[in-house]
Every structure is written in structure tokens, then in C-alpha cells.
Amino acid sequence: MVKVDGASEKLLRVTLGDLILKNPVMTASGTFGYGQEFTPYFDVNTLGAIVVKGISVLPRRGNPPPRIAETACGMLNSIGLQNDGLDDFVKRKIPYLQSLNTCVIANILGDSIEEYQILAERLSLESAIDAIEVNISCPNVKHGGVAFGVNSKMAHEVVSSIRSSTDKHLMVKLSPNVTNIVDIAKAVEDGGADSISLINTLLGMAIDIHTRKPKLTTIVGGLSGPAIKPVALRMVWQVSQAVKLPVIGIGGISSADDALEFIIAGASAVQVGTSNLINPTSCRSIISGIHDYLVHHNFGSVAKLRSSLIC
């Protein structure tokens, strides 16, 4: 358990530009609801940040089942970005989020630039929201997985449009399903992002050999979990070297050791996703494991460990 004293707090505190987090561990969008589902298991205020489930302007009901399939050391999902829409988020979820004593990041998604702008403008009015994470990368599985984030020009355009709609910290979440993620990262930096989070899920599929049908209704879905960690880690390392912005590492983190790999590779902070579904208290042990490593190896802060890869 992390001792809540001044020394521990200083050790774990991280800054992402203008955003100050009490520790480098955030929850990944889509794996933590809006925070309330996990309150029986641990104090969510101990998290560095909560990134809530993605919000669209209008409610989305998501894809028909089956939406999930287990794979070796991972899982596929095609939830379909189910959410109750912007109005419901503001009326029914913000009051609870306001009561939290940790950083709250709203993840936004859209089919058009206008939609992203509407979301960014409206959420900018909410003091409960400390930052906006822009999902330009969710595989739109009904359209062959193509999204804004696979193309530098589109990525730049959507980020700069959102930039002009908000002063809040803008974290842009990248898709790994691209030819060159460094190009996308640079485009997003140039478009005005304040930080970059990566990776979103990898496109994958699974087949039931007894029925000869795909295991997901949408055939293709997003792969997450430990299986994707080596890909995510490589991309975080590459992007960290190419951009000046803070980088947030996501992908198969289920232990403090995993998180430390991402920090050494260049991440200023990490997001934990699928692991929450298996062990609701994952984040708690990851935070405390990072703390213990820093003490044991004599690093005075997370920032001092960041980008310390020897090669």
C-alpha cells in the first residue's frame, strides 16, 4: 500500500504539461465506466486520473452481442462505443465525478469534426473535467476499421479543430493500426495537442470452429490485454523520441513491472485498461509497485526514471 505521506506523494507526482497528477497511473477509457463501478473494491481517489468511458454527442447503443471474445493472454472487444450521450453525461455523471478528489479526464469520440467540436466546447464549461482525451482511433468496425487517426492529414485537422474549441488540456489517443505511428504523433503534436496517449486496441478477430462463425458480431474487433504489450511498448518508445509532448503509455499493463517498462521507454504516465476487468484493484498494486521500485533504485521521482532506457 502506498503510504500517504509527503515523501511518497512527491515521489509519485507527475506533470503532463499543465496537468499535475498525484501519480502516473490512470484508468483507460472503456474499462472503468465513470468511476462508480469500482468503489466497492478500492478508493478511486488514489488514482492519478480516471479516464471515463467515451462520450459522443448522441447516445449510442453499441453493437449487438457477442461483443467480447477471449484470446490468448488477451481479449477482443467490439462494444461499439456504447454511451448515453453528452447531455446525459453532463446531467447524470458529472455530479459524481465532481465529488472525486482525483484528475478526471473525459474521453470524446465522433463521426465528424463538428461532433468533436461540440463535445469539446460543452465539456470545456465543466470544472469537474480536468482534461479531454480525444479518441481519433477507435476502430469504426462497421466501416472496416478506418478512422481519423490512420491518416496524418486527418489527424492534424481534427486536433487543430478541437484545439480551437477548448482551452482544456488536450490528450490525443492514437490508433496502432497505422503504417507509421510516429508520423501521426508528429501531426497531432503540430495540431496543438498537449499530450499523446497510445495505444488504442489492435484490430483482430477470432473464429468459432464448430459453427464456423466469427466470435464477434462485427467480425473484427479491438485486441487488448497482455498480448499487445510488446507492440504498445515499441510504439511508445518510438513516439517518445519523436515528439516533445508528454506521452502516456497504454497497452497490456497488468503489473507495476509493466508500467515501469513504459516509463523507462519514455512514458510520463500510463493507463491501465483490461487489467481492471480481471483485477479491480490492479491500479492500487501498480501504484504501490512503482513507488517501491523508485525507492529501491534511488530515483527521486517518476520523471527521473522516464526515458532512462540504456541503449
Partner: protein
């Protein structure tokens, strides 16, 4: 007794009894779960201490044995349940629970409403807990139990109902138990001069047949559903089932697993 909020527990294995080649009954030690659960609720169990299989598996609570122990009934169907079949006494399992909602029995004052339990195959699992609870909470309500399975081997849980003194009828696809057919073929045995509330759990075709019977004859009915689940906590939104009103989906782990027939599209 109110049901407790769920938590993440390390539970000691008290027994892992092999009932047939594929069907096991696991007894776990946990007073919070034993004291805090209600019939219809389930637990999520890690079947591996490694990263594969990754996800926990959901199991309905089959029976509360004592103030600090409960049982699940499971069939070996894949990697997770194969692993589970190998655990032995004193092993420790990671268990989250109790989760989900629960069956609503008729009020004890309403002793004219009979309780009819309808089980198909492994759907029998949550209904034993319900039967024991009904005997305690509704001592004057008639109770009848219908169990169907592929063969007599799979009717292994029937003895548990009989030993409670309950009127129990079995039927199997292959007729090896003495009656041949599916569980809904047993409905003519019901005394229809009485009002009944049905509680069903089993394969989808069985649930559809039960739904059809109850709709036509205007019986109240609750069904426990099973789906693929990742978290079981209401976070991932993976475990959906269609709503009758077509206004989106129900989440089996949070809105269920028990549903009133009226809200399902059958």
C-alpha cells in the same frame, strides 16, 4: 437480510467434488459471500494464476452451505473450467462476489402462489439456492421442481432437490431417466387450479419454450441468463442482451442475471 456489496476475496477451497466425468461441485470458504448473497447472484472466479486464460469465469451460487461456505456447480467446457477441475482442498482462489441481482420469490403472505422451478442442463445451478431459500421464506407456498438434461448422468443435481423434500420431476433427451423429452414437456404435471410463479434457467431454446408457455397462460416468470462476460462488474459493457422495448440492451451482470420475462424479447 440485505445483500452485501461485492468485494474481491481470496477463498480457500474446501472441496472440489467430481460428480460425473464433466460435472464438479466446488465448495469455497467465505463468510462475506455466504452471508451476503441471495439466490440468483453469481461470482467471478480466476481460473488461472497466470495471464492465460485471462478473464475470470462467472458461476451462479449453487448453495450456501453454512455461514462461511458456499458452492458452485460447474461443467468442464473449456480452458477455465478444466483448470478449475484441478484445484484441491486448501488451494486459494480469487473470487469476486456476490454480483448481480436476485430472484424475487412470492411474498410469504401470498401462499396461494406456487413456486415452479424449471431447470435445463446446467441451468439447475442457481435453482438449488433458490429452492432452499423458498423453503425458508415461503414455507406455505407449494413448490415444484422440473429438471431436464441430455441424459441421466447430467441430472446429477436432482438428488439435492429431493433430499430437501421437494416434489421433483426429471426428463432427459435420451429417456435414460425414465421420461423422454425436454423439460417443458413436464408442464402438464402442473396443477393449473393454482397460480404459479416460474423461475427458469437453462439453454436458450428451453428459455424460449418457457417464455412462450408463460406468455400464453399468463404466468409470472423470472429467468436467469448466462452470457459471455469479461468483468462481471458493469464496467466493460460486454455482456449485453436485447431488451424487449428495443431501447438498447440489458447488461446481464448489472441489470441481471435475473430478468422478468416481460422485459425480454421472447
Amino acid at each position: 437480510m440485505n445483500h452485501s456489496p461485492p468485494n474481491d476475496f481470496r477463498c480457500r477451497v474446501l472441496d472440489n467434488e467430481r460428480l460425473t466425468e464433466h460435472i464438479y461441485r466446488l465448495t469455497l470458504e467465505s463468510s462475506p459471500i455466504a452471508l451476503g448473497c441471495k439466490p440468483g447472484q453469481f461470482v467471478m472466479i480466476r481460473t488461472s494464476s497466470s495471464l492465460d486464460p485471462l478473464l475470470r469465469r462467472p458461476f451462479s451460487i449453487h448453495r450456501v452451505l453454512s455461514d462461511d461456505s458456499f458452492q458452485i456447480l460447474y461443467r468442464i467446457v473449456g480452458k477455465g473450467t478444466t483448470n478449475l477441475s484441478r484445484v484441491t482442498r486448501d488451494d486459494i482462489l480469487a473470487v469476486i462476489g456476490p454480483l448481480g441481482n436476485f430472484f424475487q420469490l412470492p411474498s410469504a403472505r401470498d401462499s396461494n402462489t406456487g413456486i415452479c422451478l424449471v431447470a435445463g442442463g446446467m441451468g439447475v445451478a442457481p435453482l438449488l439456492f433458490l429452492a432452499e431459500t423458498a423453503l425458508r421464506q415461503c414455507p406455505r407456498n407449494p413448490i415444484i421442481v422440473f429438471i431436464g438434461a441430455r441424459s441421466e448422468e447430467e441430472l446429477v443435481a436432482s438428488t439435492s432437490f429431493r433430499s430437501l423434500g421437494l416434489e421433483t420431476y426429471e426428463i432427459s433427451d435420451d429417456g435414460s431417466c425414465g421420461r423422454q423429452g425436454v423439460v417443458c414437456d413436464l408442464f402438464p404435471l402442473l396443477d393449473l387450479t393454482k397460480q404459479w410463479k416460474f423461475f427458469g434457467c437453462g439453454p436458450t431454446p428451453m428459455l424460449r419454450a418457457l417464455a412462450s408457455y408463460c406468455s400464453h397462460s399468463h404466468h409470472l416468470c423470472e429467468i436467469s441468463l448466462e452470457t459471455m462476460m469479461a468483468c462481471g462488474l458493469g464496467a466493460c459493457l460486454g455482456c449485453v442482451t436485447p431488451r424487449r422495448d428495443d431501447a438498447g440492451y440489458w447488461h446481464v451482470c448489472k441489470d441481471g442475471p435475473v430478468f422478468n420475462l416481460e422485459v425480454l424479447p421472447w
